[in-house]
Symmetry: C2
Subunit: 211 residues, 2 copies
């Protein structure tokens, strides 16, 4: 069977989607409509009991969590050079950055998009939506500094971290997310990833427009 | 130079600490006193600009984020068999579980321990402290189910995921965290990891007692 990627348009699954296209993987896409809460249907919970995207279904089983899928893509399609897989320390740096995106950057966005995940009530939601843009600015200060070292987040070699960062840089441009205008390297990086054929292919497949 | 692990007693750095001992690594420990906000001092921010533990300083540079350090330990000390490093898919499962612990389970605890990270004000802190125990129970339902497959979280082979889960199982036993009594397999797993010499060694080095 071909691997199947369960995704929602523009959700964090876009990172794994782009990486699979970059790898030249032969896979199928399966849409999960978050607006219809399809991630909570019994059928989907059989695929991923956590009720989230992405989920990558393979012959071996189901893989979830972007950092794990991204490292897997780098390792399973080694010829495309999407990660320094022969160098445990360099690969650990890739994993560290992806883990930071997942557990800090994504979580800060989630407090804006889905505050009910973390607390009930409008007042708490407001308080989270006030705080998160500051956190995002703080995180992007670190990311901007890291981009001093080269065109890509880990220097001169494109890796699976780049589409993952691209996803969050896209989200960061929306109103109310912080101060994206303070981070010119982040914007240039986003545009660089955006222009790649794999990114364009994935955006078209998810019927997304703009950047 | 020997690798140096910056840790705080009983903080999430305990997972990387135990894994390094399991691996038989020759490393040094360096205490970061969170109660004195040492993670925010200029000296420590030079080590880890994110101001968090753990940070593993090696000849190659500084590695942060438990999932990345844990995968690195498994790969860099392969003879100790702390991860299925020759099998990209199986290793991806290890990474997926660790990523879930980092971005969902740890984050739920952080809303109880450090609500100010996510929103300002007592009302928001109360709302987060009300919600997080439900989230933790939901997460431990998934973990309890996974423990049906064997003694360890990935079946019959101990891996770096086990000390990482152990850490959160310890936190889960504290008052106000949810309903740990509903999860007998989690408790048995915690006791199994607790009894290992490497765990005992790490707890003693961090001057921790009890379970």
């Amino acid at each position: 069977m071909k691997p199947i990627l369960f995704y929602a348009p523009g959700a964090c699954s876009l990172a794994s989607h782009i990486a699979l296209v970059e790898a030249g993987a032969d896979f199928e896409l399966r849409l999960v409509r978050l607006a219809k809460a399809e991630q909570r249907t019994p059928d989907y919970l059989q695929v991923n009991p956590k009720g989230r995207v992405p989920a990558l279904v393979t012959e071996r089983g189901v893989l979830t969590e972007n950092p794990a899928i991204l490292a897997y893509v780098a390792q399973n399609w080694p010829e495309t050079g999407l990660g320094p897989i022969g160098d445990p320390w360099a690969m650990a740096e890739v994993n560290a950055f992806n883990s930071f995106l997942c557990s800090s950057v994504h979580v800060a966005f989630a407090h804006i998009f889905r505050p009910g995940r973390y607390a009930d009530g409008d007042a708490a939601a407001r308080a989270m939506r006030e705080k998160s843009p500051q956190s995002l600015d703080d995180f992007f200060v670190l990311i901007e500094a890291k981009l001093e070292a080269g065109l890509w987040i880990h220097g001169d070699s494109f890796s699976v971290s780049d589409p993952y960062l691209y996803l969050f840089s896209r989200w960061f441009q929306r109103d109310g997310m912080g101060h994206p205008e303070r981070f010119p390297r982040v914007r240039a990086h986003m545009e660089r990833v955006h222009a790649r054929p794999a990114t364009q292919n994935a955006l078209a497949a998810e019927a997304l427009t703009g950047n």
